[in-house]
């Protein structure tokens, strides 16, 4: 079987599979006013680490959406073992259920990049309340790359294309977001405490081919360290 990068994340059960991990998630959420009345949609919830954190910390309504069966299973297990009343939805962000105007916040932690961005942003706008906020942590192209380099990255990660900060801004505006604030994520140097370390929920025996993917990912991360950045977008 040929595995993709996303298969690798789901079979390793990588929790908080986005730059900054749970620590950055906590920081971003702490800047928002969130009480029990709020309703939050965690798209591409993965193993449900973020959703579980939100439900425990803020006791608000949490909906978790993913389209990967392995991830959905791991998220569901996590929520039931923690007895958290989180709604789990099997679905695509590009075409969501009839959630019109339902959410105060949407959290996209390195998820939108992996989709058809225009479609997804339109959907986000549709399911957010009129003053709802989109919080997104996404990959950004910082320096121009050759066609060949772009192809390597796009093929490996299974993304449609790499976007610059101004591409992202234009797409947010096109989807109807008026206020867009953009901050670059700076990776801390001493990134080794338990809160930033990734939590894994492994699926039985790990195929050697998945280790190959992990190695390639590590290699690409190092090679393109200065050409790819990670940004926090807040849009409403």
């Amino acid at each position: 079987m040929n595995y993709s990068y996303l298969d690798c994340l789901s079979l390793f059960g990588v929790g908080g599979a986005h730059p900054g991990g749970l620590k950055l998630t906590k920081t971003i959420l702490s800047r928002e006013y969130i009480d029990q009345e709020k309703s939050i949609l965690d798209v591409g919830c993965g193993t449900g680490q973020t959703s579980a954190y939100i439900a425990k910390k803020y006791r608000c309504s949490v909906t978790s959406l993913d389209n990967n069966p392995t991830m959905l299973k791991k998220a569901t297990q996590r929520f039931s073992s923690l007895q958290l009343p989180i709604k789990v939805i099997d679905g695509s962000v590009e075409k969501m259920p009839h959630f019109d105007g339902l959410f105060d916040f949407i959290l996209s932690e390195s998820v939108t990049s992996f989709t058809d961005v225009s479609l997804t942003l339109q959907e986000f706008k549709r399911v957010l309340k009129p003053n709802g906020v989109l919080l997104a942590i996404e990959i950004v192209l910082e320096e121009s790359l050759s066609e060949e380099e772009l192809k390597t990255l796009v093929d490996f990660y299974g993304i449609s294309r790499l976007l610059t900060v101004s591409d992202w801004r234009n797409l947010f505006q096109k989807a109807g977001f008026k206020q867009i604030s953009i901050n670059k994520y700076k990776q801390p140097l001493d990134d080794n405490d338990i809160d930033t370390s990734t939590d894994f929920s492994l699926s039985g025996n790990i195929d050697e081919k998945l280790l190959e993917i992990l190695e390639k990912h590590e290699h690409l991360t190092k090679t393109y360290k200065d050409k790819l950045g990670y940004y926090i977008f807040r849009c409403c």
Partner: protein, 85 residues
């Protein structure tokens, strides 16, 4: 360091990626799957074949969690800062 120290550390780091160096100098990179009174069991993060001259002797022949690493043989244990997008 006392045995109990690594036992409780491994318990705490269950499901996390770590790098363990033993007193004999072998290096193990993997996710902590389990820990018992005497050993910690890792899901390796690297393939078994040698890469760039490195050789993780302990993995040889053991698939998956392998035979485990004796807690008493651990010299250092550190969380690995892995990066995912």
């Amino acid at each position: 360091m006392a045995f109990g120290h690594y036992y409780s550390l491994c318990q705490r780091y269950r499901g996390r990626a770590v790098e363990i160096i033993t007193h004999e100098g072998s290096v193990h990179r993997g996710i902590i799957g389990d820990v018992d009174n005497s050993r910690v069991y890792l899901q390796p993060l690297n393939r078994t074949r040698d890469l760039g001259g490195f050789s993780y002797g302990w993995y040889g022949g053991y698939p998956g969690f392998g035979a485990g690493i004796a807690l008493g043989s651990i010299a250092t244990l550190a969380l690995l800062p892995l990066f995912f997008i």
